[in-house]
Symmetry: C2
Subunit: 533 residues, 2 copies
Amino acid sequence: MAEQPGPEQSPSRRALLARIGAVAGGAAMYQAMTALGVAAESAYAGPVKLEGDARGASVLVLGAGVAGMVAAMELRKAGYRVQVLEYSDRPGGRCWSLRGGDRYTELGGETQTVGFDHGLYFNPGPWRIPYNHHAVLDYCKRLGVALEPFVQVNHNAMVHGRNAFGGKPQRYRTINADYQGGIAELLAKATKQGKLDEAVGKQDQEILLESLRAWGALNTDMTYAKSVLTSDRRGFDRDPGGGLTARPVPSEPVAIKDVLSSRLWSYLVTGSLYEFQTTMFQPVGGMDMIAKAMAREVDGLIRYNAKVTEIRQDDRGVTVTLRDAQGAGGAEQVRADWCVCTIPLSILSQIEMNVGAPMAAAIRAVPYAASVKVGLQFKRRFWEQDEHIYGGISYTDLPIRMISYPSTAYGTPGKGVLLGAYAFGPYAYEFTALPAAERVKRALEWGAALHPQYKDEFDGGVSVGWHRVPGALGCNGAWTDAKRDEHYDNLCALDGRIVLAGEHASYIPAWQEGAILSSLDAISRLHRRVVSA
Amino acid sequence: MAEQPGPEQSPSRRALLARIGAVAGGAAMYQAMTALGVAAESAYAGPVKLEGDARGASVLVLGAGVAGMVAAMELRKAGYRVQVLEYSDRPGGRCWSLRGGDRYTELGGETQTVGFDHGLYFNPGPWRIPYNHHAVLDYCKRLGVALEPFVQVNHNAMVHGRNAFGGKPQRYRTINADYQGGIAELLAKATKQGKLDEAVGKQDQEILLESLRAWGALNTDMTYAKSVLTSDRRGFDRDPGGGLTARPVPSEPVAIKDVLSSRLWSYLVTGSLYEFQTTMFQPVGGMDMIAKAMAREVDGLIRYNAKVTEIRQDDRGVTVTLRDAQGAGGAEQVRADWCVCTIPLSILSQIEMNVGAPMAAAIRAVPYAASVKVGLQFKRRFWEQDEHIYGGISYTDLPIRMISYPSTAYGTPGKGVLLGAYAFGPYAYEFTALPAAERVKRALEWGAALHPQYKDEFDGGVSVGWHRVPGALGCNGAWTDAKRDEHYDNLCALDGRIVLAGEHASYIPAWQEGAILSSLDAISRLHRRVVSA
């Protein structure tokens, strides 16, 4: 989850936007883009400074996800007495990695035991960090979380459509080169025929033609046709070599009309979106390295297995009622002067809490997006060995939507774990409804359309449907623009002694950056209130 | 060197191609592309199989670069008695890394002592490995050379032109987004005005428009104008955040005519070229990890400091005369049944050798390309800390041509070494003629146009001009297509008991892949001759 329904999911997201655009026109389209959290560079201004005396005030932080732990870390540093209540038995929330031996019980009671080999992992939640998510990167740096590049675009990965090229997967590079070359040729032709004379001055037309030739790999006659030049983008039929058997054989481009009707062009945009531009990162060893590093910082402050059942504030403080998450023992109450609540709205909306009507309405207003991820272990890294795909993502219009290859341990022998499905929207609901083993089986069947090796090489899988994750009940807050206009500020504003934080209280929904920035903003406002009281 | 005048050097290479195209028309352009070694996926078919009995035949391998060491390794495995003669005092040839404490004396006698911090390095020669260079990757795998991703394209890196935008560097992402959006808008407008009716059918026009809108980030009115949608490609004026201070502010795109006249579009092609597509690699710790791993394999076979002065064959074998490279002692002769000669043609053409007229002419025919690299150490990784550039390359039309940031140790404190210049063509000759310190000084002055921090943060540099490297005398064999037609096969063919190998004997000039494939082809032919004799 985490980025769902983030900008990457080009096809469905684009389809959705196109629908909105078609029905409601430009303004709605614009607003929908905002609502979907398309925009994303961080407004992080460096380590938060909470100046002024907290005078020993106490804070209860609800939730030990990234937002909650950041709040705990920074508030303690500023002199607060902090306690964190966490529903599950581990820190991190959606910042989570599954490894061999891990057991995960979803809503409905089904338990999966992960059978991955030592050193292999799967991130059910966030799995990559954009270069422009400065807060996440800075916390990684400060907490010593080692990062390595995450490969988003791989020119040698596949793009696949059930009805495109007879269902045969294509290489990203061929579709990318042929689309670019095809439209460059179209525009060059129109320019040379004088059809752009109104739009572009004569001198600019010359530079335009020169640029199209360079950029589109057009031959000197301004066509995008079979040549060494075009093969230097899309690849060769026979590659150049050394010695006497070296001469390359160019490949035949796909005509632009066939590229267009294949609709595989819809996957080309992936690496140009702000959050998916190079250089992206991932923590070495799994995304939960961030959670673990934060948990070390707030060591001793977190009480696990604490299910919050009621949040009640008065003039002097906040009382939280809790029970053991496993159901042992009776109700218990803890009290503090202030409360930073990072519980997902999907759950918070079911907890009794005396906040004002505006915040209460906001909490109820935001539905949670659905997503399902499937991690698959294979006996060998066949995508590297057979297909020379090192990291990156293949895309498909099948319900699995994509296959993401590990951006680490390239070329190593032994087993490998890849992301075998990242379904969202209607597909995700359908997927979530299935038993876990069935989800894995479907991911295998669909994925075999891209990689026939799936059948022989499969070695175990695990699946996480976010609407079945206890403590989350969904992937992320799915704001619409109308809801944001009405409720967002009310959700974020301090209500008496309670303030909310988390990705749902940000303009970067579904990303850890949103969670952290929301948390920093919330505790800054809380602190100002405390200091000025 | 290594890739010079490889496909990446878009501006000069493109300018050259454009000149050829303008003067000589399409066929010459096509041939020039071939000559420049544009084409590049490997024809590697897996580990070489030298079957049949070598009957204890002996081979002299001249040169312990990558081609020579591969020949030695594989021939020994096939049962040959192998000796390698190497001019310098280290293995690897152009596969070379400079580290703190290293001393390098160039032609002319000037010695540089490298002052880099522990763990930092600079590759004067090859510095990256394409995913389609299967032979290099396979040798890395077999020899246990650890690889990590090399970042070629970084959307947050700079593109810079002296006359573009008042000399102010732009982010790659803004020029990329605005060029793409600009031409998408132009083509969409022409399509809607019916100007493409001859070229594209009505139904395809609809898909074309849809694709342009998605791919170019066009708004619903099919313009590429300021919006969240376009800022999601080029970046925001004010980035989205969390809590109550979160609302993003879109940025204003640059008009297509200004993008065109800036000529910065010429740098956009870099990541689409076959050899520069994701995912690229580099050895962890420096390119010479490959050389060192190969040298371990042929441990004891290499005689260093051996300057070959004559190569003479007769019906029974080959006699090589050598002297100590430092001038100590007199001439000496070694003899073997066969000879695999990987000495660069720039040097081989000066060595007496009795081969047939065709090979002799081929050896004399190929000039060597010029290139200069400058490695700069800075007190801190300001490109990451100040500018959020993690790996990748900034481009400029200044003589340094580019600045490449280290694709490793991201976010670490302490010093960092970057590639501060990679000059080629006329710039390289001019650079090479200067004393080493002056080359570094110029690189600093020019680089400061992109990074003003250069002045305060500089902490030492080293420069290598390949025409001054003893044992290389140039960067790589610079074939023209006419020369290739006339001489290439003669260069590669077995001449009596002598066969040549190296990047110059391949269709992948300047790349290690060419050297290895050439070597494998050469020894395979040699072996067939031995076995069938």
